[in-house]
């Protein structure tokens, strides 16, 4: 059986990549990403499962699954021409992704599957920092964090549990890192851009630090998420990951005004 060796969450601001090049060593996000990367390196994973919400690059309203497994052998991104960062080719892990799809179906979790992927910045920015050589294969798990109606946070939590059971049932010996991409709460390009819902961010941070993951999942209704800004559905990716960590509490957690960085270790 494979083993979950680390879980983490990081945001994916493309400007961080760009601004770090302009003025290295000055960005708080740079130091926090480095902190997460050091833990990822220590955990020596063979594979990353990344839980992310596509920003209308791979999916659109014509066909928008609540949950989807990335089955592609490889994919490129970020595809957005406005995104100021390097382009990468990311390898997938088709046998394991296929097995996950089957595992989900058998457990009555009817995930969608995408055999071709156009990666957006939200998938690639965390990998730029945490898998910089792109050596590790990546299985993307997409949650619909943006196009209402959102999947229930409690359902995302259940998906995390499914991921953990799948990892432990998988025939290989891989050491798996499970990474959530996204912020706790933020508005990017909505009318409240620049405002942070401090109360909600502090609530999320506190519940995560206390290991009260199910309480967080119950409180993270779509209404509460939307009240915190148009980008706040990315919390669903964090909640998915907490569904996999069991009773383990985070090794470290930083709310960083809504951005959110954390690591859980299992060794």
């Amino acid at each position: 059986m494979a083993k979950l060796v680390l879980a983490a969450g990081v945001p994916h601001p493309p400007r961080l990549v760009y601004e770090m090049v302009q003025s290295p060593g000055k960005m708080r996000g740079e130091a926090l990403m480095k902190q997460v990367r050091e833990q990822v390196e220590k955990a020596e994973p063979d594979l990353i499962i990344e839980v992310d919400s596509d920003h209308f690059v791979n999916f659109f309203y014509n066909n928008l699954p609540a949950f989807c497994v990335g089955m592609a052998e490889e994919a490129e991104g970020p595809q957005e021409t406005w995104c100021p960062m390097p382009r990468y080719r990311v390898r997938g892990h088709v046998p394991m992704a296929k097995a996950l799809l089957r595992h989900g179906m058998n457990a009555k979790f009817d995930l969608a599957a995408a055999h071709e992927l156009r990666l957006d910045h939200s998938l690639v920015v965390p990998l730029h920092f945490l898998n910089p050589s792109m050596e590790l294969p990546v299985i993307p798990i997409y949650t619909n964090g943006f196009a209402s109606p959102l999947p229930l946070a409690t359902r995302c939590f259940a998906l995390g549990g499914l991921l953990r059971r799948f990892i432990e049932a998988w025939e290989g010996k891989e050491r798996v890192a499970l990474i959530a991409s996204g912020c706790f709460a933020m508005d990017v390009g909505g009318p409240l851009r620049g405002w942070t819902d401090t109360e909600w961010v502090e609530t999320i941070s506190r519940l995560l630090l206390q290991g009260k993951y199910q309480t967080l999942a119950r409180r993270a209704t779509e209404e509460r998420i939307n009240a915190a800004g148009n980008n706040s559905g990315e919390l669903l990716n964090w909640i998915t990951v907490t569904g996999a960590v069991g009773k383990t509490k985070p090794l470290f957690l930083e709310g960083d005004e809504g951005s959110g960085y954390a690591v859980w270790k299992f060794d």
Binding site: F60, P84, G194
Partner: protein
């Protein structure tokens, strides 16, 4: 209402280079290929971000108006335009920073 069509126009603008080129060069003719009401077409052509927002166009897709500087929308006027028609909200004071300047390629 065909908010889906507006969302689609903005989605294609970001994801399809040829479509984007046409949107820059002959937007009026491109819009004719979509089923838009007069109100929707007028809102797009006049860059009425606030109106499009009230209609339910997704904010992530509205962002492409300033990113690609379509219909007179740019990073400096985007925020004030999306707030048009909204009551004053003290939270606006925290969010008056200009939207991100992207690197043109």
């Amino acid at each position: 209402m065909s908010v889906y069509q507006i969302n689609k126009i903005l989605y294609l603008t970001d994801n399809d280079g040829n479509f984007r080129k046409r949107m820059k060069e002959e937007p009026q003719s491109v819009l004719k290929e979509f089923r838009l009401s007069d109100e929707e077409r007028d809102a797009l052509i006049s860059g009425a971000v606030g109106k499009l927002y009230q209609m339910g166009v997704h904010t992530f897709l509205l962002n492409h108006l300033y990113r690609y500087e379509l219909f007179g929308v740019n990073r400096d006027n985007y925020l004030s335009r999306i707030r048009e028609g909204m009551d004053y909200d003290p939270r606006f004071e925290q969010g008056n920073m200009p939207v991100q300047r992207f690197v043109k390629q």
